[in-house]
Amino acid sequence: MKEIQRVSPVVFKSTPVKTKTRDNWEVVMEYSEEGDGPFLVDLSHRPRFDLQDSNLAAQKPFGIEIPETPGICVLEKGVLANRMNGTQVSLYNLDSDDTAVMPDESGYTDVTESTMCVALIGKNVFSICEKLTALDFMDPQRKAPFLFQGPFSHVPCQIVTLSKEGDISGLVLTCSRGYGRDMIHSILHAGEEFKLTPAGENRFTNWIKEL
């Protein structure tokens, strides 16, 4: 039998120049002609967990103190914890060293496969966003990182803004996996005028380190 390979819901037409196999995913580290940004990076292979508990205050996933207010996020040790509502938090493992394994407790569900996940980073990312959603990323009252649960290109998404600072702006977006094809098409279409290009995971890893 052949080697088992996992398939990401995100498909770019660009040519990969560097890849790495990780947990049966073939992760593209770099694409040819990545340009100067903004960049679109596929993170669908990064582990993502759903944690629901009526007493979230008592939970410390990966040692992280969960923010109390819905819409607030924390990024600690490569894990992004996004408070969704009174009883729910979503956890994204953005650390490519891949240390976080889902705790074996009933409140957790592995939802890596439920969504497609991309990062949109670099200059003009919010100019791209405003072509696709009415959500107000530049609201001065929202301090990064913060979570939006709302429509993006007509599809309900979770969007975590990690930086609103000019050229290092960036966000991570997840939506139902099935929408992967059309969501990527929408984002790339909207980003065309800003020269948005697909980029490999390295681009994201370097970017997040600078935050």
Partner: protein
């Protein structure tokens, strides 16, 4: 008209992110001895208030929660003072 709804989790948002869930009618009635009239009243009948009513909304494109708000059906504006027009009904029983 642009409807906005204030979600208790996500804040004030475009009304099209939400789904309307009916007039507030209270918890499900006890099933015992529930007459067809009473059942129908709970399930189908509306007051159709032209004014402020309490009603349920679901944040379909957002956090997925159900919550009640007060809204003026003649303007579509949410009401913060929370008083429904005609809350008691002038004549709740059938004449």
């Amino acid at each position: 008209m642009a409807l906005t709804i204030t979600c208790p989790i996500c804040g004030k948002r475009n009304g099209y992110e939400f789904k309307f869930g009916g007039e507030e009618k209270g918890p499900r009635p006890e099933e015992k001895d529930l007459t067809p009239e009473a059942w129908c009243d709970y399930v189908h009948m509306n007051k159709c208030v032209a004014g402020v009513q309490q009603e349920w909304w679901f944040h379909k494109d957002g956090c997925g929660s159900w919550f009640p708000i007060y809204r003026d059906t003649t303007t579509n504006l949410e009401q913060e003072d929370q008083k429904a027009t005609n809350q008691e009904g002038k004549n709740d029983e059938q004449v």
